[in-house]
Amino acid sequence: MIRALLFSILALPAAAQEADFSAGSTAKSWNMPAEVPALFEAKVVDLLCEVAGDCPADCGAGRRQLALLRTADNTLVYPMKNAQPVFAGNVVELLPYCGKAVEVDGLLLDDPDIGARNVYLLQRIRETGAQDWVNADRWTKDWAAANPEAAGKGPWFRRDPRVNALIAQDGYFGLGLETDEAAIKELFE
């Protein structure tokens, strides 16, 4: 009995990573080499709190990364990307659910050769028991509301004041404007 329990404990991490959560998923492919559709139940947690025990009352109020503690196997899944193909993460999508039980649908990445384990692209979410799914695509609206002075045409990342200030200071390669100018000249000649 004890031997069986010890074996089960030792085998759990491998079993969790090999578990198949694709049943029922309608996640769209991003044509990534290591992607697997994954629909599962989880609790939304403050990552720093869950991993290191550093726990503010408000889940970080949007400052901190949030994560998914998967119900089926207690695996901590890191949802790095939302559903928008525009360099946007997941905190805006997950913060309303922090501390709550949810269902999520998206793409799991598993590429141990480069260190990617339990990494997730979130496409839709709903609180457990809710009927309707919510698409994980709110980030750009949130950014626009927070940056009214940057309103205009084109994607947010071309208009972001913080990034544009750094590009103006250090160039696109971050090596200074002289290096930048020479590199750009070479690129486009």
Binding site: M32, V51, R63, Q65, L76, G174, A183, L187
Partner: protein, 154 residues
């Protein structure tokens, strides 16, 4: 779903038996030399191979991702990636100014290491030294992705 329920029941039972395995733990003190990278592009391959989505070639994209709240990691010299949870007391690891300003820099950092479900996590207590952008891979790769720099108007 039956398989999930069985796994859930097993995990719940296991949590009773060995709860501390899954609880937050004390970190292990470490010192790492590495580059602050955009982990999504590195892990996903959406912008190219791992050699191309780091360094000066990928600097602007790394800033876009950091500003967009995508997790920042430290890519150590041995190829291990450490997900940054906090840096010098600043817990704004989702789009915060500190990590944005350090995009692509190679640093030596002291901190606390945590490992959970296959990923390395680090609380950076101190950036001991900063070499700036030391990986000048734009010489080999140009700019990654290629649309980062608008073509100059004639």
């Amino acid at each position: 779903m039956r398989q999930h329920r069985i796994l859930a029941a097993f995990a719940a039972g296991l949590a009773v038996v060995c709860g501390p395995v899954f609880a937050a733990t004390d970190g292990e003190r470490i010192s790492i030399k590495g580059e602050f990278i955009d982990t999504w592009c590195y892990f996903s391959g959406v912008m190219g191979g791992t050699d191309a989505v780091v360094g000066s070639a990928h600097h602007t994209c790394a800033m876009w991702c950091s500003a967009g709240g995508i997790p920042v990691g430290l890519l150590a010299e041995d190829g291990q990636v450490y997900m940054v949870m906090k840096i010098e007391g600043d817990d704004a690891n989702a789009g915060g100014d500190t990590l944005l300003s350090l995009a692509s820099d190679t640093v030596t950092a002291d901190g606390l290491l945590y490992q959970r479900d296959g990923l390395n996590y680090i609380v950076v207590e101190k950036v001991v030294s900063n070499d700036g952008i030391a990986n000048l891979n734009h010489v080999d790769y140009g700019v990654v992705p290629g649309f980062v720099i608008p073509e100059p108007k004639p």
